[in-house]
Assembly symmetry: C2
Homo-oligomer: 264 residues x 2
């Protein structure tokens, strides 16, 4: 309802991202190792991962990591940066499905099915850890803990989408936007990207509109309303939620007890 075009301001898939074959950071110095919100892999699993990883890929804001309908050759773990998953209807309407933070695994669905049902676009500069898609599951079969973690991640992504469905189905514009802001800030804090109720992240109002299923105009008015109410201050440069508890109660979010998130 909001989008005219937009997607693809950055380099498209055709322009290869900057790839560093195994020369980049090794797992021993993985930036995710310091992240508090993450469950660190056991030494032997780490070793396996280390042997399997192919290198890193760097993307700029606006770059597409995957494109809906294509068959990707790689799987990725986000080392740094924030990305989003979007889905296009034939007539150009666009829906943002979810956002992805450091530690998240990208491409699981494609790895199983072959063809992407959505597009993944970088919202900030991003560094991803590359894996080969072909051999992934054969090798995963030898690592029960890894299979378990994969299942865990898929199940939790599902839970996040559930929450999102509740938002779209039952909440009005203000509640919806508040719920999204709280979700993002919280998720950012778990990933060490946000702190103190502030997540520095460039999201345009057009993108917010596509995430919430609202028109651009109404999105703008809702942002202003929440700002006046002191609940959420969302600007081009970041999201601030001064009182998370107040925001949660306003949007009727029930705080889910979050266990430690594994990563690969």
């Amino acid at each position: 309802m909001a989008r005219d075009d937009d997607a693809g301001q950055g380099r498209s898939l055709a322009d290869a991202p900057q790839v560093v074959l195994n020369g980049g950071l090794r797992c021993a110095s993985c930036p995710l190792a310091d992240c508090e919100g993450l469950k660190q892999p056991a030494p032997e699993l780490l070793q396996w991962i280390s042997a399997f990883r192919q290198g890193e890929a760097r993307f700029l804001r606006g770059d597409l990591v995957f494109s809906q309908g294509t068959r990707p050759r790689h799987l990725y773990t986000i080392l740094s940066g924030v990305l989003m998953r979007t889905r296009l209807l034939e007539d150009g309407r666009r829906q943002i499905i979810n956002f992805m933070f450091p530690g998240d695994f990208i491409g699981l669905q494609a790895a199983l099915d072959g063809e992407m049902t959505h597009t993944v676009e970088a919202l900030t500069g991003a560094v991803l850890c590359m894996f080969n898609r072909e051999r992934f599951f054969d090798l995963a079969a030898q690592q029960p803990q890894l299979s378990f973690d994969l299942t865990w991640m898929a199940a939790h992504e599902e839970a996040a989408l559930e929450e999102h469905i509740v938002s779209l189905g039952q909440r009005n514009a203000r509640e919806r936007m508040t719920a999204l802001a709280v979700f993002l800030v919280q998720r950012g804090m778990e990933s060490g990207v946000a702190s103190d109720g502030l997540l520095p992240l460039t999201v345009t109002q057009g993108q917010i509109a596509d995430m919430l299923g609202l028109s651009l105009v109404h999105t703008n008015r809702t942002i202003q309303a929440l700002r006046r109410m002191g609940l959420v201050d969302w600007t081009l440069t970041g999201i601030r939620v001064p009182d998370l508890e107040a925001a949660r109660s306003f949007a009727k979010i029930d705080q889910s007890p979050n266990s430690l998130r594994p990563y690969i």
Copy 2:
């Protein structure tokens, strides 16, 4: 927006469902073995499953299999029947997340996290195959194929929710309802529950409203509109979509190539 109460017309969780310990059908005569839409487990996996299963549980329409906020002791595979997953907000608003058909696995998220984030309710009489939650993952670790199937199922459920998010975010009432009808009929045909564009299934308009995030009144008017248009004929006793292709094109659904669904 629609619900007053409703949930729990049947027996609640307190009233135990009818449970048949291993006396019921054995895997050798599993009703799912004949289902065309399902990928049959390999013999050795089947044997493992057979040893692990605890029996069957039978539920009536309206019975709750799981209740939001509780810690279930069992996991289930649906042998027959149709169920739905719903989520309640504090203030009583309810959102139906998805429907579940024979072959679907129930309780994965709870198995990982302990606490249910949603309720599962039987829409028809249902027979479920019971597994013990505690030992499930220990044993699954010994069956790589099983781990893979679990990941597959979680990833695909995620894809279904994605589609649902697109509906809620981007489609208007008519498109939304058409998309849901097509999804259900198609899913029913894969499970052998529906045929010829007709799915016999008792869903009240109140439930449809909660699934689509619409008010009861508007749901009713939308049903009538779609009936007049000859696209979807949805009554208390079933859903009929005379021309699936026309309906798909109206709702802008891109036919996803569906691979065979595994089950446990």
